[in-house]
Amino acid sequence: MADDFRYIDQVLSGKHQAFRYLVDKYQDYAFTLAFRVLKNREDAEEAAQDAFVKAFRELARFQKTAKFSTWFYKIVYHTAIDYSRKKKRQIVSLDNEDYHFDFEDSIYRTQWQKTCDEDRKKFISKAINRLNENDAAVITLFYLHENSIEEISEITNLSASNVKVKLFRSRIKLKKHLESILHKETKELL
């Protein structure tokens, strides 16, 4: 955090190349968050890049009482949401799918336990991509970026209780998406 502030001061004093440090540090997080919202690499890169430029322009307004990451993720999240609205991409809704599978059903549980780490990551990634933009962003911010509920609340402009409810619902949806993916995989294997 102190490093972030040091480089921010340098950027504000006119050494705009110092911004490269912040780009290198946060580019993967920004891209992942944008990707989770937009579900598309090209759009995510464009949105994340746009967010960095916005952050650079607004850097003078950043108050050092907060974490730079929280302030920056807020820009990334809202930029990605704006892109998503512009693109109006069709995101698979949970309601449109037939979820009659039960995770407690032994076939899917066994398959989940049997899958290797890489496959599990692949399945989870697929399942997260099926979540809607807000749910995917909340899950990403909570797990990948390890933000607290309060920080997610600040980033998304939702109340802390609302974030908690969203996180809970996202996890339930994620489980159901995983069931669906595992069901398809099982069918392919059989």
Partner: protein
Amino acid sequence: MKKCNEQKIWDYIDGELNPEEIKAIREHFKNCPKCLEEFEINLSLHLEIKKMDCMKPSIRFGKNIMEAIELDVSKQFKPLLNVFWKRICIGGFGTVAFYAIIIAIFYPHVFAEPNTPKVFSLWSLFNHPATTTVLGVFVTAWILYFADHWMQKRFKPEPAR
């Protein structure tokens, strides 16, 4: 915890329960295999998501950002006169100043009183109009070349690392 409650299970995993609630949920797990199984599934999912890595953008991503920022900076600090007009103004001023110096040194009779005898000076060598024209062209080109060189360094934004 007396009833099955998935939210409580997640709160337990997130470490958001107080000691009494932790004790109650553990008691509940002893008597409710369904909730215990739910807990195991949720915990496994929780740990798996935590293990997920960040995605990597393309190799040019960082460079593209720095280029976009440089462009932004150059627009933000756009000078009142663009480089072309600065070169013209400073080059023109330099040329005029140079000629003024030349005239002041080599053409003293310009400032002399009328009807005074003209003393031989170095200027007589350049007194022919053709010589002055050629000299003027070369000197102007020379001044413009160095002025341009200096201004390119002075007004060009620094490249990104």
